[in-house]
């Protein structure tokens, strides 16, 4: 049984995701900062869109670029730069693909040999947070995800 993933909207502009991993921070940190390893988990098959490429210059001021899509023609990219890289406890990066991009802070805390991981996203505005996740605007991608969620919920019922 996997450890539970929790999510909380802590303010109008902030989302926090937490999860415990059965390994020390140095290992979990490595998985977040090594492109070959990111490729193995950042875009799991269930989300339906493969990660085509993953470039990461993991140091303060360094850039990253992740391209998703079925092929190069339909690819869309997420990119930004690292504001802070402190192994093995803290990563901060910007999301610059559009003006609504969040600043993401990931912390890796050691707890009894395990890692308590926190992903904190701070959006420039409430509207940006909601736009980013299709709360009202309803981007097609998000509705597809909702469809998948519905399918899974229906299966369970």
């Amino acid at each position: 049984m996997a450890n539970p993933t929790r999510i909380e909207r802590t303010s109008d502009r902030e989302l926090v995701v937490t999860r415990t991993f059965d390994g020390p921070p140095r290992i979990v940190f490595e998985a977040w900062t090594t492109p070959e390893l990111m490729k193995q988990w950042w875009a799991p098959r269930s989300i339906g869109v493969p990660l085509l490429s993953c470039e990461m210059d993991v140091r303060t001021g360094g850039g990253y670029r992740l391209a998703f899509g079925q092929d190069e023609a339909s690819a869309f990219a997420f990119y930004g730069k690292y504001l802070e890289v402190t192994p093995p406890s803290r990563l901060v990066w910007t999301n610059e693909e559009d003006e609504d991009g969040a600043v993401t802070t990931v912390t890796f805390e050691e707890r009894d040999g395990k890692t308590f991981l926190t992903v904190h996203e701070l959006y420039p505005s409430e509207a940006a947070l909601e736009a980013g996740h299709g709360a009202e605007e309803g981007l097609p991608e998000q509705f597809e995800q909702l469809d998948e969620l519905l399918a899974r919920l229906t299966e369970k019922a």
């Binding site: 996997a2 450890n3 993933t5 929790r6 999510i7 909207r9 989302l15 995701v17 999860r19 991993f21 059965d22 390994g23 290992i27 979990v28 490595e30 998985a31 390893l37 193995q40 988990w41 950042w42 875009a43 799991p44 269930s46 989300i47 992903v119 909601e130 996740h133 299709g134 709360a135 009202e136 605007e137 309803g138 998000q142 509705f143 995800q145 909702l146 469809d147 969620l149 519905l150 919920l153 229906t154 019922a157």
Partner: protein, 116 residues
Amino acid sequence: MVQCSPAHLDASFSALSDATRRGVLEQLGRSDASITELADKFHMTLTGMKKHVGVLEHAGFVTTEKIGRVRRCRLGRRRLEQEAAWIETYRQLWAARFDALDQVVENLKLREQTDG
């Protein structure tokens, strides 16, 4: 999290599966409107728009009220549930990622043991 029966969800998702209906919600997010105004906006017949609004109303996304001869539409209470639903979708994305990350962490632990 969200307490939703599958039938309830079904109505919501089919209501949202149509581009015009999503446009109507977006529009009503900006301001209330009459069916006539919505029909004009989306270049539809009054009957066509009534149908769309009916589906959204049934799913709880929109409420309507007849004032004189005009039916006003506004966003319904389901907006909150809608928000809970997208947060749940987002949580599931992270949960799927993290389940895959568990495997990566296991592999790295094994590698450390092997390397001594």
